[in-house]
Symmetry: C2
Subunit: 164 residues, 2 copies
């Protein structure tokens, strides 16, 4: 299985009166995310499922991916909200879903969760060694057999500027 | 400083009568590497210096990058040949050269050296967790101060297919 960990696009700044979970993508954030989605489509990539954090800026990012035809399925999961833990996510998503071996799943969420999760999958622990920009992406291949923690492989990591 | 670790393109198979170090890029290998070079150029990237392994397949790859205007300087180093060790390379290249802080250096070489070196820079040890395809690239940012081993960051890793 391949996981594509995608960080939400540029969102409006934190300010009094707006709850963090309700912050929306800015105009620039939407446009950049659309360009990234178009490029991913042109690269021939499709996701069997997009799972998004319930926060508005992530949900809007996931909806752009969906609108560009990158998947026909979108789900929301609290496990992808900030401060989520990868082990909860792995328990919840990998075991009961029984995805086919070669499934391509996109997870839209937040930093530092996503890059830390990738590191845990690759090396078993997180050291903040992966740079994941807004609207950027990390591609991780899980092993065919056995637990993925510390045994997965990184096949792609890109900032959005190289997808425009 | 940013290091761009670039694996040589597809080369002719090992066969009797050809020394490993003399194997050349195939026609497909040259074409793919040229497409990758063109895309890197369009992305606005330039290297202050390209250092290549002395093996023919690496040298030819580096010469393609040079021919596309990605750098005006090419050097050859035995430290980038197969079985080279990153500590030798770091000693030799980083200390005496005194590159400017923001230098962008491309290293053209071989697997598993390049991906292992990147892992050592990021996490201090290599676990074969990074996939570097032929004509693919890994981008590593070294810390501004202090030793880079275990303290660098990965900002880009791409297979050639996403650069065509």
């Amino acid at each position: 299985m391949e996981l594509y960990l995608i960080r939400h696009g540029i969102a409006e700044a934190q300010q009094t009166g707006i709850k963090d979970e309700e912050r929306e993508l800015t105009k620039e954030g939407k446009q950049k995310t659309e360009k990234v989605a178009l490029r991913i489509l042109k690269l021939g990539l499709k996701f069997d499922l997009i799972v998004t954090s319930p926060l508005v800026r992530a949900r809007q990012t996931a909806e752009i991916l969906l609108a560009f035809g990158l998947s026909s399925q979108l789900e929301e999961s609290n496990y992808l909200a900030p401060h989520g833990h990868i082990f909860n996510w792995l328990d919840y998503w990998l075991k009961p879903k029984n995805f086919p071996e070669n499934a391509q799943i996109a997870l839209v969420g937040h930093e530092p969760c996503l890059s830390n999760w990738a590191e845990i999958l690759l090396w078993g622990e997180a050291k903040d060694s992966l740079v994941l920009k807004k609207a950027g992406m990390i591609g991780v291949k899980l092993p065919e057999i056995g637990l993925p923690v510390g045994r997965s492989q990184l096949f792609w990591l890109t900032p959005p500027k190289y997808l425009l």
